[in-house]
Amino acid sequence: MLLSIAIGSVVIPLKTVLQVLFNSRVGDAGFSTFTTIIWELRIPRTILMILAGAALAGSGSAYQGLFRNPLADPYLIGAASGAGLGAVIAITIHWPGSVFGFFVVPLAAFIGAVLTVLLVFGVSRAGKTTPVTTLILAGVAVSSFATALTSFLLINSSGELRRALVWLMGGSTLSGWMPVLGAAPYILIGLVTLLSMGHALNVLQFGDEQARQLGLRVPLFRTLIILAATLATAAAVAFTGIIGFVGLIVPHVMRNLWGGDYRRLLPLSIIGGATFLLAADILSRILLAPQELPVGIITALAGAPFFLLLLRKSKQQYW
């Protein structure tokens, strides 16, 4: 965390960071710039990355458990592509720059994510139940559609293209405390709800039928888990852009290391996701310094090979 606060296009010595954090040299003229950078940029960014990583990995492990599918991640049921579409629409039509101007993109992303998930569920609902396979197929189809629409809009748009692209690759277009305050409530509510679902997710590993025979109210818990995970994902995506791989691989790594018990796996994924994303974010600031890379590129570049290595090395079947 200290590293994350210290490193950036302006590198601040760790000692100075500690001094600023603990308020020891207030009023020192040379320090005011550092103080501003630390309190207004670095700390909120650090917190935002921790929140987003926790949200993505936490909901990723919940989706994997719920759908009993190792490929499931926060994006599978359309949350991310919907968010992307929402954001790009907002950027390309130049939403009037009101007071809330800079808030419009995340807001549009949030709405896009929620609408897409609702659409996917609406389509795949068969009578009273929602078959998992249909749900995943619908998610893939709707995601592709939304992604195609996004590309279409991007090609047709003249300006603002870079901003949209950066956002899509997982670079936050926002800075300061606003995104933290905007994302935190949704992410915290979503994750706390998920953390109470460990036992239910364990039961669901045995399939809907056995779960019902064991006395689990399957529709209720399934709805709660999906709502909580989508809420956390949408908030993370809306304020940090599309950051891939965290929600997919962190749960797998944790499952590989600590086993499949969701009462342990959920908190571990949340901690692991926060750590991983924070580390990736630090890398994104130093690799091409002083220029910053979108963190989504780092998570994929670092995450994919590591994941492949893990798959290769793991002898026992852990899924």
Binding site: G215, D261, Q317
Partner: protein
């Protein structure tokens, strides 16, 4: 005593069960036999609550079960599924623990009493030494035993088993059903088992039910149900039942 009265079930507008009425007794094993598609599994699913009962009635000791919530029902009826679809990464203790689901509070925490019940269930199924193993590492026979332990952990008066011996070799088949028989007597369970193997059914069932096209065509002790004529007709091959032995022995001619 589990009583089913005039149960009829339609699936996709097709009649699957018609006017099923019978009583399953405490401390006894009821074996359900019949050819594929006769409705054996559907009957178990209706009893366990997976299929809502719209026509007919289901009573346990004169208490109506039809409108019970799934939590209440899971405290009365436990099902042992086939072992084919288990999450392999689970460890045995955690899986047996899931049998306590209907008793957990909203925080879903297990008490020390739950732990005792889990341990006792593992002991009774001779699988305590498997507690820390992964489900995926167990043999098919061991998997059936720990699934039985999970059902016992549900602490229910009724135990349902759907073809529990399918993937087991002869030794495990006998060991498992010996165990089920012993537990049924000991704990006064109402045990209902769907079995394909007529000779296993003959050996272990106190009472048998022969289903054909969703209807009961014979009900009673094995001596009464296992007859040449009715089996030959229902299974559509010539079948002979040797009743000279203590347990009627069935073989195709």
């Amino acid at each position: 005593m589990l009583e089913i009265k005039d149960l009829s079930v339609d699936l996709n507008a097709e009649p699957v069960l018609r006017n099923i009425s019978f009583t399953a007794k405490t401390g006894k094993i009821l074996g359900i036999i019949g050819p594929n598609g006769a409705g054996k599994t559907t009957l178990l699913r209706a009893i366990s609550g997976l299929i809502p009962i719209r026509i007919g009635n289901l009573e346990l000791d004169s208490e109506n079960l039809v409108d019970k919530s799934i939590i209440e029902r899971a405290k009365l009826i436990a099902s042992v599924p086939q072992s084919s679809s288990l999450p392999m990464a689970f460890n045995v203790w955690d899986m047996v623990m899931l049998g306590r689901t209907p008793y957990l509070n909203w925080l879903e925490q297990t008490s020390s009493q739950d732990d005792e019940i889990i341990q006792f269930s593992l002991q009774q199924t001779q699988s305590l030494d498997l507690a820390m193993r992964k489900v995926g590492e167990l043999s098919a026979g061991e998997q059936q035993r720990v699934l039985l332990a999970r059902a016992l952990a549900q602490s229910t008066p009724v135990l349902l088993m759907d073809e529990p011996t399918t993937h087991l070799d002869l030794r495990y088949q006998i060991e498992l059903l010996d165990l089920v028989q012993q537990l049924t007597r000991q704990k006064n369970l109402i045990t209902i088992i769907v079995l394909h193997d007529l000779n296993l059914a003959s050996r272990y069932a106190d009472e048998m039910m022969l289903l054909e096209h969703g209807q009961i065509v014979a009900f009673g002790n094995p001596q009464k149900v296992l007859r040449d004529a009715v089996l030959s007709r229902v299974y559509q091959i010539p079948i002979h039942v040797d009743k000279k032995t203590r347990i009627p022995h069935v073989f195709p001619k």
